[in-house]
Symmetry: C2
Subunit: 373 residues, 2 copies
């Protein structure tokens, strides 16, 4: 490293230490924080990255004395314990840098993104760090990635799903495969168009990724995939109809899924924003799975319809969508917390397979690759 | 039914219909709501319980005329569509009753609850609706249930886990079995005491249920299970230290889990309350898995330590805990969103197996049994 963290000065201020770093950063460390972060072998398991003490067993000690040089600070505590903190360790806890390092930075989009997202050959994805990084970076940036050259089978698709973080098991199974026929009845699995939506709005946590692989489309036309950036839509709504954004980010909309022996339901805002940072966390948009709801009053009821329609208008506008034809051999991966998916109507025989991957599991992979903190 | 819903009167008020029911309830139905909830075969798939129209394709029509009797209302719309609504259907949407029907009603507890929770023989749980209801009602009420007479093996335990909603697959596997061998980078894989905690605070969604079955404890003592009601603790904190409750329900505490190839991390409040209802949703308390964090200022840092310590004091107080010895054959099930678990230190050879069940999956089971809406 060109600039290894180095300390210029350290001084006691009340129960805290103020540390000035060579790069100009100044950080205040409270004594309770310092004692909690003692990295000696009796306070910290360096193999499990866990503290050895319960928070109630950490002595409420004060700093008796300290000594520092550019590279470390030695602290002697009022209970005679001693702790050493390196400049490298301490410098990580500059609030602004630390907070910023944890922020996801999605690149908003609308329309076609075929020249922006990663399209990675399956062997490269599975067997090289570089390939894996391309796929996960594309998911972090755009919420979409494609893996090509995959064997046209459920088994070959499963290998890709496992490398994305592992197959999530839901009431729909682990890996699933579905066929639709032109003469099918009027159920959810039809050849009718499906407007862009998020899956699993009725689960307490929706699937993190959705993986789709078209294994076959014979004797017919249509069935184009539709993708749209849910985050971009929400932020456009915020600009144009701020009261709708406010409603959809605070009102708990109930979604439901009912079949014999199963009844999933969950109530949460359509637009989930982080309480602290106010950043977008999740879009939970599915007009089909809305549960019938009672409303507090006329205003709430009318706000529900007005705001859902206004957000729908964005998502339904072809100018905002990316439409393309999935072909056997190319696996599509999308971030179901952000990107909405749908399809145009079709004729002929179409077979798709795929699975879900839990959000925690794919972010774990991205983090292990060093792409996010 | 003694009192089938019956309508006394219906009148147009602006674009809405006011309906007075025989039991004295009065409900206002906006025209947009009514049209969205038309249950005719072209508007609604009664087999999938889904609407047939996208929200943008529902005509923004007004009510031309309506006729009612005690049992139903027929509406003619400005686009000549007609809809029929039964009194039974409409009466469900009284706001207060509807909202209340969706509220979970945990029974708070502290100390031993061995005479309160359900202890159900495995055959009864697996093969009778009554047995299943006992187990799930106990989980809804107290966050704990026991199933006894289970075969002392991972395979027999798995059958119980599947009946609870299905085995959740995480980085720890599906069904897991552990001794004091350090298979994972975690204090759980030692013989040290483990203070009461929630699992998976570092996942975007923690496990819904945790299932534990002690298959063997030979040549040693100790290893008592510790359970404590996280909700009761949080509400006691709210009474005694309201500023701590406020801090822990709004501050995003970061938790982490690190092992070779894996890095899970998640930031959310320790006390999760519903934005709308202000009711407790989840406790996310694990002092071991706290990530090192930077703070905005000294006050935030000191609030963090003060509030965590005050909440810890409640959870660590033996008067608030239920302690008992798990025996082979009895499977313990707890709601990991609410109940904290731990153990006392032990000697000898101890083998446990178990798994997680996703929250959506066990609530689905409870809902299919008619225990919750």
């Amino acid at each position: 490293m060109a600039n290894e963290p180095s300390m210029e000065s350290a001084s006691a201020v009340g129960r805290a230490l103020d540390v000035l770093f060579a790069d100009g950063k100044s950080i205040r460390f409270e004594d309770c924080w310092l004692r909690d972060h003692c990295r000696c072998s009796s306070c910290y398991h360096s193999d499990t990255f866990q503290r050895a003490h319960h928070i109630l067993d950490i002595p409420d000690a004060t700093i008796l004395s300290f000594e520092f040089d550019k590279k470390k600070i030695d602290v002697v505590w009022s209970d005679n314990h001693t702790s050493t903190y390196t400049a490298e360790f301490l410098s990580k806890f500059d609030y602004k840098t630390w907070k910023e390092s944890r922020r996801l930075k999605p690149i908003l989009w609308h329309g076609s993104i075929h020249d922006k997202i990663s399209v990675v050959p399956v062997e490269k994805f599975l067997h090289s760090v570089e390939g894996a990084k391309h796929v996960f970076q594309s998911l972090l940036d755009y919420g979409v990635a494609l893996v090509e050259g995959v064997g046209v089978s459920l088994e070959a698709t499963e290998i890709v799903c496992k490398a994305l973080g592992g197959v999530q098991h839901t009431i729909f199974g682990g890996m699933w495969q579905f066929t639709t026929r032109a003469d099918h009845a009027d159920t959810a699995y039809t050849n009718l168009p499906l407007a862009a939506h998020n899956d699993n709005t009725y689960f307490t946590e929706a699937a993190g990724l959705q993986i789709l692989h078209c294994l076959e489309h014979k004797n017919g036309t249509g069935g184009e995939t539709i993708l749209v950036d849910g985050f971009h839509g929400a932020l456009e709504l915020k600009k144009e109809n701020p009261e709708d954004f406010k409603f959809l980010s605070s009102f708990n909309l109930e979604a439901e899924y009912i079949e014999d022996g199963h009844h999933h339901t969950y109530s949460a805002p359509v637009i989930r924003i982080d309480n602290e940072s106010q950043e977008l966390v999740q879009i939970r948009f599915n007009v089909y799975d809305r549960a019938p709801m009672a409303f507090k009053n006329s205003e709430e009821c009318r706000s529900y319809y007005r705001s859902l329609r206004n957000l729908s208008k964005y998502y339904q506008d072809p100018n905002n969508q990316w439409r393309f034809k999935l072909k056997p051999g190319t696996v599509m991966i999308m971030d179901n917390f952000r990107v909405l998916h749908g399809r145009t109507g079709f004729s002929g025989s179409r077979v798709l397979c795929g699975s879900y991957v839990a959000r925690s599991d794919w972010l774990d992979k991205a983090r292990a690759l060093g792409l996010i903190q």
